[in-house]
Point group: C2
Amino acid sequence: MLSNRQLLILQVIIDEFIQTAQPIGSRAISKKNQVTFSPATIRNEMADLEDMGFLEKTHSSSGRVPSEKGYRFYVDHLLMPIDLSQRDEETISGVFNQGMVEFEQIIQNSVNVLSELTNYTSIILGPEVYATTLKQIQIIHLSKTTAVAILVTNTGHVEHRSFTLPKEINSLDLEKLVNILNDRLVGVPIIQLPQRLQVELTSILDHYIKDVATAFNYLKGALLDQQPSNLYVGGITNMLLQPEFSDVAKIHSLYSVIEQEEIMANILRSQNQGIHISIGQENKITEMQDCSLITATYTLKGQQLGTIALLGPKRMEYSRVISLLDRLSKDMTDTFHNW
Amino acid sequence: MLSNRQLLILQVIIDEFIQTAQPIGSRAISKKNQVTFSPATIRNEMADLEDMGFLEKTHSSSGRVPSEKGYRFYVDHLLMPIDLSQRDEETISGVFNQGMVEFEQIIQNSVNVLSELTNYTSIILGPEVYATTLKQIQIIHLSKTTAVAILVTNTGHVEHRSFTLPKEINSLDLEKLVNILNDRLVGVPIIQLPQRLQVELTSILDHYIKDVATAFNYLKGALLDQQPSNLYVGGITNMLLQPEFSDVAKIHSLYSVIEQEEIMANILRSQNQGIHISIGQENKITEMQDCSLITATYTLKGQQLGTIALLGPKRMEYSRVISLLDRLSKDMTDTFHNW
DNA sequence: GTTAGCACTCAACTCTTTCGAGTGCTAATA
DNA sequence: TATTAGCACTCGAAAGAGTTGAGTGCTAAC
């Protein structure tokens, strides 16, 4: 177990390193006024902390730098929750007090605000479809052989797909079909749409004219297309501001991972409820192993809707970031609740 | 005027520099087999070309590097149009042969393909609204006080806006209103919508019940909201691959310009029809003055619809890039023509 | 248990040297 | 007269040597 003195020293080192990104020496620590003992004592403690794996040296006569184990310990045991500054508080409230009704707007705003406040990269996974239900299907003809299918969900989200139609299908059949589908599918959770469509197909084949079934087959393709990945990213270029990413090659590999939205979406999707922190090697994606990822989920009736995340250097301002994410995810949960 | 020998030397230097990004010396030029004269002769010619402002030295005993005037001359007089390689040809055709009906898909694909083929950053300005017309307006209630307005254009583009409604308005009034609007506005170019809405408002106030007018006032806000900027960007991270952008600060300032979509959109919007090249200082935006921007427009019935652009170092592969843009803009023009 | 003292380490910086790819100029050549 | 060989010169880049200073670990004294 760590002594109180060791805890204090570890905390001072990590706090300081988060600010400066420079190795911390014994003399610098001894100057802190919470610290009453001499540099020599601190050096002894630091050597012990290093033996235990909480600290590292960049070279044999350098100051100490936190190891990943050190960050992990810091996050698990030393972190004091801090209250948000008034500015942070107001900025976040601002997002929710503009009377916006579309969740895209709210999320887009949140992403921007988060990355501005923190100087890290913020990533939000939009509400998963399984919590939203179908409000209405519309089909609008563009020409004889093309049409747009529009799905509206109860959250005000609009999805649309264009598709081609064979000439044999007349618009009356199509209209009939849309009416049938609306009758039967409104209120169905989006996630269940594919199965429900299968069921309806059989039923329609049994009860209605063949032409409608044909139209249905065409429409189905448009409706079943996989969902777009629903991922919002802000402040990617903030990474360039961090001294640990002055290496162009490093940044490039990180960017190419973020660009592949499916990868990020999967990571965020698989997060457990609440706030979760992955530090360095704890991240599965190699390119992210110089980073920390902090995620928070937002929910509707206890069910997980989506995820808010911040990606930054391991040397993150953990406590502030946690407060920010906590606050934002709660506000987001509230907003969806009041829908 | 430049002698043939000077033209040849200038061309060799620029071609070579585009490949290597290294200053070119007289000996290297003399080794090219189109070149029959000695390094000493070449040095004399290079000194003259430098006096005329087409070449520069990075330091007093270095090889030569093209100046911006040099690139401009190269682009205006030395560029030989080259045929696209089979691979380029096929990749571009691929975008248009997938039977996609939504222009968003086509443009998104084009942006990706362009940046992959060139390793530069590609930017496309989507079809301007003035060439598209309204196909249909739909209003869908989400709750008592919220609704989504959906606009569909003849190109299959779907715009939607959520808005809040006061309780006094019943859905019957709203439906009436939508019918009136559809009757009067279908076929109207999107760009004229704002004015036309004003006209209709007066007319509605004169002829219809007051409640409809109130509903209209609410809806108007949603419909008149400024258009989203319609800009598609691909391969931003490609800039990191160019040796001239190994400086993180430079990249960061360039990125922050690209991030401000309105700036880029305005640049692309103001381009003249056809292919246009801005080299270095010719760009108005300071942050882009280390870059070249090549733009090509696509049209519908002679009217400019949008712009395709590539942003890269001044040392661009001009001839290949021009062929690519030329081909893509033609294919895009054709696609919109066949709509 | 704590700390002063001291020898030691190493990155970062500066200064110097060396190397070589390049130049410009002059004088010889075709 | 236009071209070229030859040569002295320039300067960046790389490699090596010396200096500095912030840091360490260890020992012995308090």
